[in-house]
Amino acid sequence: MNPKIKIKTSDISVFYKDFQALHGINMDIQEHKVTALIGPSGCGKSTFLRSINRLNELIAGTVIRGQIYIDASPVYCKEMDVVALRKQVGMVFQKPSVFPMSIYENVAYGPRIHGIKNREQLDEIVENSLKAANLWGEVGERLNAPAAGLSGGQQQRLVIARVLAVEPQVILMDEPASALDPISTARLEELIGELKKNYTIVIVTHNMQQAARISDYTGFFLNGELVEFSATNELFVNPRDQRTEDYITGRFG
């Protein structure tokens, strides 16, 4: 089976006013794999992630050059419907941020805004999404309870269920475990391993052990450049670039 390239970035540069956050990134991200992005704070990995679903545009003064292709169709063009793009490319943020509504309404939020009104259909989506996010067993009996009452780890899985409910193909994760305790983190990593069967996952992480544990490919960012990008085993065991080696062995960062 030939690996299929899901996301291809071609010479992506991002500018915030006078500051250039990314310098011409070229990256091929494979379908149904976990791709980890590592690097010190401010190296541009989150910026890169947010350029895939065009979330960077929310910040006034952002200029993006280059092109990103998802399934070979360009993301940055006039015809692109940002709503359709974000339906296709889901995102999980650093801080688990549940909406101030019930567990059910959180998961049903996406399908509702995309026009699904049928109650039975929504029930089914909510159940399937919560099951896929390994949360159904814990909350299935109290779907109408406020989501804010869940623990941090449960909230983050609820956020993932909310993303799954709109049936994306790609899931972007921006340090999803950084606010979680070790047990919740382990459950999240386990979940990521299961999700990659059906989704393409790109995850930004500060934690190198985590990248090594869960990813198939790893990219190392430094000062807005992609220093090295290869299979995770290779990058951690046999880094080609001196800077990568310095970073993963803890000499800086």
């Binding site: 679903n53 979330l55 929310l58 006034a60 709503v83 359709a84 793009l85 974000r86 339906k87 889901g90 995102m91 943020f93 801080k95 941020s97 909406f99 101030p100 509504m101 939020y109 996406g110 805004i113 995309h114 406020p146 956020v159 909310r162 993303v163 709109v166």
Partner: protein, 277 residues
């Protein structure tokens, strides 16, 4: 050297005393008004129309006038104020000159004395637009007056909604307007309602601007073009024209009761909202 523990005790005592003074002032004020106002209070006072310039009869038309005028003013000001707040916080670019101007205007308007609003309303609505002394002239003037309060409090409430809600909603493919309606406004509602309550208080208590724009007719207010007298205006005229101090105090007591009822209802709706969220 006084030990920290004792210092704490002394400070606690001082703050407790200060709080007591505030409560004391409030209670003695209400108690005084109650003592002077309660004897003249009866169902007839509430339900009957005034006669002989308020010397006889009740104050029913002024209660209705107050409610009518306040309701119309809020009906005009709330949608406009909340819409302006949504525009300023959600849609305007941070460097927008227009948004800067709207903010400056709202801030300035908030500090203008009500008599100036009254004068403007008198010249513009009553005379220039020919609306006369009427509920609509008074309500428009009141709406102008409370608009900055409603806008500013709604802005604060919208601003306090975590940025993450918006990001998450947009990342799920929601449009800007869907995001505003579904995840920004609901958590901001309690704050928005607080602004509305403050505005009701200002509207009910206003006199100067209303005498100039809505007049002081004691007739039953029916249409928007009728002149009316609010309870506060009635109180002012009863006291200033030496009609009856006793009746002025009874009216004052009813104004306080009305405000308490409005606040209670608003709080009740806030709690309902909190439960639903």
């Amino acid at each position: 050297m006084v030990p920290t523990k004792d210092k704490e005790k002394i400070l606690t005592a001082i703050f407790w005393l200060l709080a007591l003074i505030i409560v004391g002032i409030l209670f003695s004020l209400i108690a005084y008004i109650a003592v002077r106002g309660l004897p003249g209070l009866s169902m007839d006072f509430i339900l009957q129309a005034p006669s002989r310039a308020g010397k006889e009869g009740g104050i029913s038309t002024t209660i209705l006038g107050t409610l009518y005028l306040t309701a119309v003013a809020l009906f005009l000001a709330v949608p406009l104020g909340v819409a302006a707040a949504i525009y300023l916080e959600e849609y305007a670019r941070p460097d927008s000159k227009f948004a800067w101007l709207v903010n400056l205007t709202a801030e300035t308007l908030a500090g203008i004395p009500s008599i100036i609003f009254g004068l403007f309303g008198f010249v513009f609505f009553v005379i220039f637009l020919g609306l006369g002394w009427s509920i609509i002239s008074g309500a428009l003037t009141l709406a102008f007056m409370v608009l900055p309060t409603i806008t500013r409090t709604a802005q604060e409430a919208i601003l306090s909604v975590p940025r993450e809600y918006r990001e998450n909603s947009l990342a799920l493919g929601a449009g800007k307007w869907q995001t505003v309606c579904r995840v920004v406004i609901p958590p901001a509602l309690p704050g928005i309602i607080t602004g509305i309550i403050l505005s009701i208080g200002r509207a009910v208590g206003e006199t100067a601007a209303i005498i100039l724009t809505a007049g002081s007719s004691l007739n039953m207010p029916l249409s928007l073009s009728d002149s009316t007298r609010t309870m506060s205006v009635h109180l002012y005229l009863l006291a200033m024209e030496g009609v009856s101090m006793e009746r002025a105090f009874s009216t004052a007591f009813l104004i306080i009761i009305l405000i308490i009822i409005i606040n209670y209802l608003a709080n009740l709706s806030l709690k309902r909202l909190a439960v639903n969220n």
